[in-house]
Amino acid sequence: MTSLAEVQGDDRARPSGLAESNGKRFALLIFATLALVLVCLASIAVGSRNIPLSTVFEALFSYADSDDHAIIMTLRMPRTLLGLTVGAALGLSGALIQALTRNPLADPGILGVNAGATFAVSLGVGFFGIATIQSYIWFAFVGALGATVLVYAIGSVGRGAATPVRLTLSGIAIGAVLTGISSAFAILDPATFDRMRFWAAGSLVTPGLDNLTVSLPFMLAGAVLALLVARPLNAIALGDDLAASLGTNILRTRAVVVVAVTLLAGSATAAAGPITFVGLMIPHVARWIVGPDQRWIILFTLVLAPILLLCADIVGRVIMPPGELQVGIVTAFVGAPVLIILARRGKASGL
């Protein structure tokens, strides 16, 4: 995109990240992808039973029916793949929400999207007796969409557009109510909710590939939508009025973003439970590397977010032997300081 600054020939006004040219950005993207591959291998190899990398390759390329190979193919592989997709989906939804609301503190967790999905899933488990990911996912979508719309509606009451502060506060309020009701369900019907206990903490541990295969199509659809709206989002970053005068259909862009966020956050939540702060942190890192162009931010987020989630998952596996810490708990512990730093920064409320 030819940015306004380039048109005016003013290089100082063009905010740029670490990588200033597209060549450098490509190089960094390839580097990040390599890092992601390494993290994936580590995620397959590391755990309560460490498996040497050579065995990992053997299991991948010439499967023999040994214990290690069975562990890799039935436990570690699904887990790693789920981390890969869920991480990317969460990161993308965070990047989209931040771009749409022009709010650096936006995150599907903070804006109540995850709470909405969790609430709807609890509702489904409690009242409709659903038990499989195939049915979880629809409830999660409805909940995510409902919460997004509600939070946005409350945030935009009154004259003027929804400010980042009001959106965040309304997300907190709605999130608190929905989380409260979900935990009330859990207490009222402990037997049913025992099954949801680990899901609710945010975990990548799943038997087999079901969670992945069901959620993957929705995540892919969301990712495609995200790439499609990257360009209009660049225009919206200039402000609604300017974007409209540049020929952007603001309403359509907003609608597409909301649908994409619902698909991404809803399916990620259905597959792995509510995981917060991934969507908050990664787009900031991406923006720091590549500057404000949404297309690059989205590409980098796609690669960096799974790195974070898989690393958090690995840490959770080794930190407390013989038990495991769910990945959602680790990301919250790592991500919360980022939130605090962002809130302390002077111009925290504008993007």
């Binding site: 009154g158 608190a176 009330a184 207490i187 407390m320 512990f333």
Partner: protein, 356 residues
């Protein structure tokens, strides 16, 4: 009490002047605030009587009042006075304590969001209590002490972290959320490490419940509140003047630092007794002073209406927690979170509509 003595000093609000001991003690009483306080207290009392009467064993209201004055059959006496009275009275007392402590913190931070639950007191006190329960295996007093210490440290940490040329409401909330999220992770980790039985105990405490609290807890709460109340009354007037700003308060002859320290200690003590006994109960301290302020139409947060509103909120929430899904019981903390979140959303919309 006499009628308004000097109509030229009305400030548009009717008040009465209380004169005791031949004018040696005089106190101006805001009539609207007084009326609001009394109405709220009556409502809270009515709800408590309903709480005493209803349940699996229904008692007619007449018998409840009889039992309270010691004129009932032993069976009714046992149900009403021994089983239900401690819980109902604790809801009133702890609600009032939370309301007052919220009012004090909101006045101190000059911020409607500066209540103990927002500034991380709840998550921190839970961490403190968890450390005592799971690692040290402590008694009730040790748990209460741990909760107090954890809450205090967290509140200070949140306040310091959000300090940047003063504390701004939004930053306070976001930093509070961040610190709470970290502590919640820590709490989950502590719970997962612990023995299942210990973890169950800790988890019940952690959601904030008045379930199964007996006369001994009521006694402890009463003693603390009786000790703290004189200080609250003493500090109420300096607190009002502190709201004018440090310089103005100093010019009025207030020892600013000492008053502030005193108010902090009183506020912390009130939150601590509620948290120590019932676990972290969110939003009462946040909402009660603000609702009371709107009802009483006062300029700042007022202590007495806040106390009455807190009592009403917690008593009503506890009845809801007990009866809404009977025979299953909810921790009252969950009910207050839901009600408080709705209130918060409503507040947001209202403030937004008001903006030009």
């Amino acid at each position: 009490m006499t009628a308004p003595a000097n109509t030229t000093l009305m400030f548009g609000r009717p008040f009465a002047v209380l004169r005791l001991f031949g004018e040696r003690v005089t106190q101006r009483v805001d009539l609207r605030g007084l009326t609001v306080t009394l109405v709220l207290l009556l409502l809270a009392l009515a709800i408590s009587i309903y709480a005493l009467a209803s349940g699996e064993f229904q008692v007619p209201v007449g018998d409840v009042i009889g039992a309270l004055f010691g004129q009932a059959t032993p069976r009714v006496h046992m149900v009403v006075v021994e089983w239900r009275l401690p819980r109902a009275s604790l809801a009133l007392l702890l609600g009032a304590a939370l309301g007052v402590s919220g009012a004090i913190f909101q006045s101190l931070t000059r911020n409607p969001l500066g209540s103990p639950d927002i500034i991380g007191f709840n998550a921190g006190s839970y961490t403190g209590a968890l450390v005592v329960i799971t690692l040290l295996n402590g008694s009730f007093y040790a748990i209460a002490g741990g909760a107090l210490l954890g809450g205090l440290l967290t509140a200070i940490l949140v306040y310091v972290l959000s300090w940047r040329n003063g504390v701004q409401g939004f930053r306070l909330i976001v930093v509070g959320i961040g610190v709470s999220a970290m502590l919640t992770s820590l709490n989950t980790w502590l719970m997962l490490r612990a023995d299942l039985k210990v973890a169950m105990l800790a988890s019940i405490w952690g959601s904030g419940s008045l379930n199964g609290l007996g006369l001994d807890r009521l006694l402890q709460a009463s003693i603390v509140l009786v000790l703290v109340t004189p200080f609250v009354l003493m500090l109420a007037r300096p607190m009002r003047q502190l709201e004018l700003g440090d310089d103005a308060a100093r010019a009025h002859g207030i020892d600013v630092e000492r008053t502030r320290l005193g108010l902090m200690l009183v506020g912390v003590a009130l939150t601590a007794i509620a948290t120590g006994i019932a676990g972290p109960i969110a939003f009462v301290a946040l909402a009660a002073p603000q609702i009371a302020r709107r009802l009483a139409g006062s300029a700042g947060v007022a202590l007495m209406p806040a106390a009455a509103m807190g009592a009403l909120l917690l008593a009503a929430s506890d009845v809801l927690a007990q009866r809404a899904f009977a025979p299953s019981q909810l921790p009252v903390g969950i009910v207050t979170v839901c009600l408080g979140g709705l209130y918060f959303a409503w507040l947001l919309m209202r403030e937004a509509r008001r903006q030009p």
